[in-house]
Each structure stands twice: as structure tokens, then as C-alpha cells.
């Protein structure tokens, strides 16, 4: 299925906004967080059978999450969703794509987004002794402060 066809399908089947085809084999669409899991399930049944990764972005006032889905014809869909920066949470899509486990763990560790329904597991990718409440990829994060018990050279 080509990029144009994927975009048309999304327009008809999903409650998506700002659907566009920036270039051949690239589709961009926005979706509400509440519709995320259902939309991804429908997209999977339609043929978008792989999630490449999940990108998180800190926009300052909110977080943007991009789910990169692809199909066998080389079309890559960037499915975007926006969540509030206060108390951020997003449902897990591991029920549809079990392989996204590590990508959702990254969101939890690096952005502090609570992924609801993710299976139990060890943390990834930050070290075990990483202090609580420090999320490196947030834009306002400027490094670990000394009062967290970890200084720059690692001495406690």
C-alpha cells in the first residue's frame, strides 16, 4: 500500500488530524492519546505490521510522542500524539506490539512519562542507582545536582 493510500485510509477510518504526505513513503498523522491503542490495532490489521520506535519530544508546554509504524512496502507512518507535561501518562501498546517494550521503557526513564499497562521488567536504559525524578531528555534538565547524592565524578 503506497503512502497516498495509507493517508486516505487513515482519513476514512481513524479520527486523525493533520494527515499529510511530506514525501513518497512518508505519512504523518495526529491522534488523540485516548484513541492511540485502538488506532494502532486497526493500523496493524491494515498492514502497518511493525513499530520501528517511539520518539519522545519535550515541547516545553507538553510532550509529543511519535510512533513510527511501517509496512512491507516501505511506507513509514509517523503517528503523533500530544500529552500534558503535568502528570504525563500514556497507555502501553505492548498488547498490540510486544516488541515495543524497550521503547516504552525509554519514555519512562528519559522523560518520566508513566506508561500504563507495561509489563514488569528491569529499568532501561538508565543505571540502577539513578535518582528518582531526574529525566535527562526533558529540556529543563541541566544535569544531576549534587544534592541528589551523585556528583559529576560519581563519588557519593
Amino acid at each position: 500500500m503506497s503512502g497516498e493510500k495509507v493517508a486516505n485510509w487513515i482519513n476514512q477510518q481513524l479520527e486523525a488530524r493533520n494527515v499529510s504526505v511530506p514525501r513518497e513513503r512518508r505519512v504523518v498523522a495526529e491522534i488523540a492519546p485516548l484513541k492511540l491503542v485502538e488506532s494502532i490495532r486497526m493500523l496493524k490489521e491494515m498492514g502497518m505490521n511493525n513499530i520501528g520506535t517511539i520518539t519522545g519530544l519535550d515541547l516545553g508546554d507538553r510532550f509529543e510522542l511519535i510512533y513510527h509504524l511501517s509496512n512491507d512496502d516501505g511506507v513509514l507512518l509517523n503517528l503523533k500524539t500530544f500529552i500534558a507535561r503535568e502528570n504525563p501518562r500514556i497507555p502501553s501498546v505492548t498488547a498490540v506490539f510486544p516488541g515495543v517494550f524497550f521503547y516504552e521503557r525509554e519514555l519512562m526513564d528519559l522523560f518520566g512519562i508513566l506508561v500504563e499497562g507495561i509489563p514488569e521488567g528491569r529499568r532501561y536504559p538508565l543505571p540502577d542507582d539513578w535518582p528518582e525524578g531526574e529525566y535527562p531528555l526533558r529540556k529543563d534538565w541541566k544535569g544531576l545536582s549534587a544534592d541528589k547524592g551523585v556528583t559529576v565524578d560519581g563519588a557519593n
Partner: protein, 160 residues
């Protein structure tokens, strides 16, 4: 006399442990390349071992990441004396391009004492051989009052 035999044995059969402390793999594959037929570090009696308990020399590659720090210390403690740590690559010497990253502590010497530094990004196998040989020469030179482990020698240029 006994000292002489022990030193001879130590220099002629240095067993090596290779430990990646968070490197990009480039120095690691060059370490293995140094051990394979074209460069053949084994002709000096050096052999790659699987465990720190058998090793004389630890080749550490990469900057020390926050997660690996405790494991590196543990491996250092598991290695029997005398032990010599070689920092392989610019990252292992000083942190290299990753200096300042939040999960990177810096060079190997921020965590454990280093006996030799081999800079390069990545280190060429020839430089690894050169570094190990220089270290062995250093071990071969009797230093009754000093411990070579604590001294630190730079090989093949400046640390930076």
C-alpha cells in the same frame, strides 16, 4: 633469583582480559583484530582470557559509564596482584567525545588506577601491540621500591 624467574614468567606470558566499559565497539574489535593472524599479539605470549581471575593485564576500552562503574571496580578487585590496567582508546584515556555526557564518568582512571594509556579513535592494532609491549618492558625493568601499577605511563603521545 626467584624474582627473576617470576618476572620472566610474567613478561613472557601476559594473560589479557578485555573489558568493554561502555565503548562504541570500535576499540574492542581492534583489540580482537590485534589477536588474530594479521597482527598476532599472541606471538608475545599474550592470550585472551575469559575471566579476571586468570588475567595479568586488563585492556579497558571506552569511557566509564555510570552503570558499569561498580562492575569495573569489582572486576579490578577480582584480578590477582600484580595487575596492570591499560586504557585503550581516547575515550578510555579521557572520556573522548563522550566527555560531559550525563551517563559518563570519564576515563578509566576516574575509577581504577591505570598503568598505560593508548590514545586513538579507534586505536589501531599496531598501537595496541606497541602499548602492550611498552608495558611489558616496563614490567621487565626491576623497580624494587616502586609499583608499576601506580605509576602510569603514556604511550604513543600525549594523553589528550
Amino acid at each position: 633469583m626467584i624474582d627473576k624467574i617470576v618476572r620472566w614468567a610474567r613478561v613472557k606470558s601476559p594473560w589479557i582480559l578485555h573489558f568493554n566499559t561502555g565503548a562504541c565497539n570500535a576499540c574492542d574489535i581492534e583489540i580482537v583484530a590485534a589477536l588474530t593472524p594479521k597482527f598476532d599479539l599472541e606471538r608475545f605470549g599474550a592470550q585472551l582470557k575469559g575471566t579476571p581471575r586468570h588475567a595479568d593485564i586488563i585492556l579497558c576500552s571506552g569511557p566509564v559509564t555510570r552503570q558499569i562503574k561498580d562492575r569495573l571496580t569489582r572486576i579490578y578487585e577480582q584480578t590477582p596482584e600484580p595487575k596492570f590496567i591499560v586504557a585503550v582508546g581516547s575515550c578510555a584515556c579521557s572520556g573522548g567525545v563522550f566527555d560531559g555526557c550525563y551517563s559518563v564518568m570519564g576515563g578509566i582512571d576516574t575509577t581504577i588506577p591505570v598503568a598505560a594509556y593508548i590514545p586513538g579513535c579507534p586505536v589501531r592494532p599496531e598501537a595496541i601491540i606497541d602499548g602492550v609491549i611498552k608495558l611489558l618492558e616496563k614490567i621487565d625493568t626491576p623497580l624494587p621500591s616502586e609499583n608499576a601499577t601506580a605509576q602510569g605511563i603514556a604511550i604513543g603521545g600525549d594523553r589528550n
